[in-house]
Point group: C2
Amino acid sequence: MHDDPDFDVRGFLPYLLNQAAEASSLDFQKVYKDRYGMLRNEWRVLFHLGIYTRMTASEIGERAQMHKTKISRAVQRLAERRYLIRQRDGDDRRVEHLELTALGRKVYDDLRGIAKDYDMALVEGMPQAEVERLKTQLEALARRS
Amino acid sequence: MHDDPDFDVRGFLPYLLNQAAEASSLDFQKVYKDRYGMLRNEWRVLFHLGIYTRMTASEIGERAQMHKTKISRAVQRLAERRYLIRQRDGDDRRVEHLELTALGRKVYDDLRGIAKDYDMALVEGMPQAEVERLKTQLEALARRS
DNA sequence: TATTGTTATACTCTATAACTATA
DNA sequence: TATAGTTATAGAGTATAACAATA
């Protein structure tokens, strides 16, 4: 075991994923931070609302695999900045429906455009089919465990 | 741009990488934390010393893409636990050479064995060639930007 | 009793500047 | 002046328990 040659920890998947995630996130992180003063979880909530239009915190939690406390704080800050509005549900008053404001949508559109360019630059020179396979594999890993 | 249909932020690579990294790291994190009270950067320094036997902090920094302050603190805690020893360089007394102790190597061997099993479980059912390609792609993304 | 969302708290992780001791 | 490594500090990110309001 001490001399087991057939496993190199440098190729340990969680390690490689972390390195790749960190390196690939850095520049984009600066964009939503410097331009809009947003944190990562706020960007995540924002883009989910950008896609699904109207969601509750619980729904975002399921989709984004985020704990409710993260969402609660992200929503609060996004509401302060007038990027979203909250509407109490009429039937179940524990629930809040969330939607982007016009301003929030502008921010989303801007960031989505930048994300798109950024994404393309990351996989530059990589055949489209490989990109698709990579993303599918990452989705599978994210769901696993 | 508002209605640009050809980019779905859910497939944004930094996002997918982060989700996959986080999900895939969780269980293993518990092992080095609960069993040895180690933090992530300590595990990283430990396994680099496990592989390269004798390194300076700067060398680890280059290999692992870690800032010197992270290494400094990780080394300190590993030294406190007697997992490594530090030796001043004779020629240049600013430099310290780091090596695992017998205890440190035991810990490394244990964690490496667990990492191996863990890694295999993560890619279970995936053809070996695809695993290799995935890891190569992640290494490339980690080096980029 | 269970669920939606909030608040409090502690810990982990990162980034940066300022420092020391050597060179 | 520059480099190897340390210390201080603030901010970002996570995890968990306890809570209020509602069902």
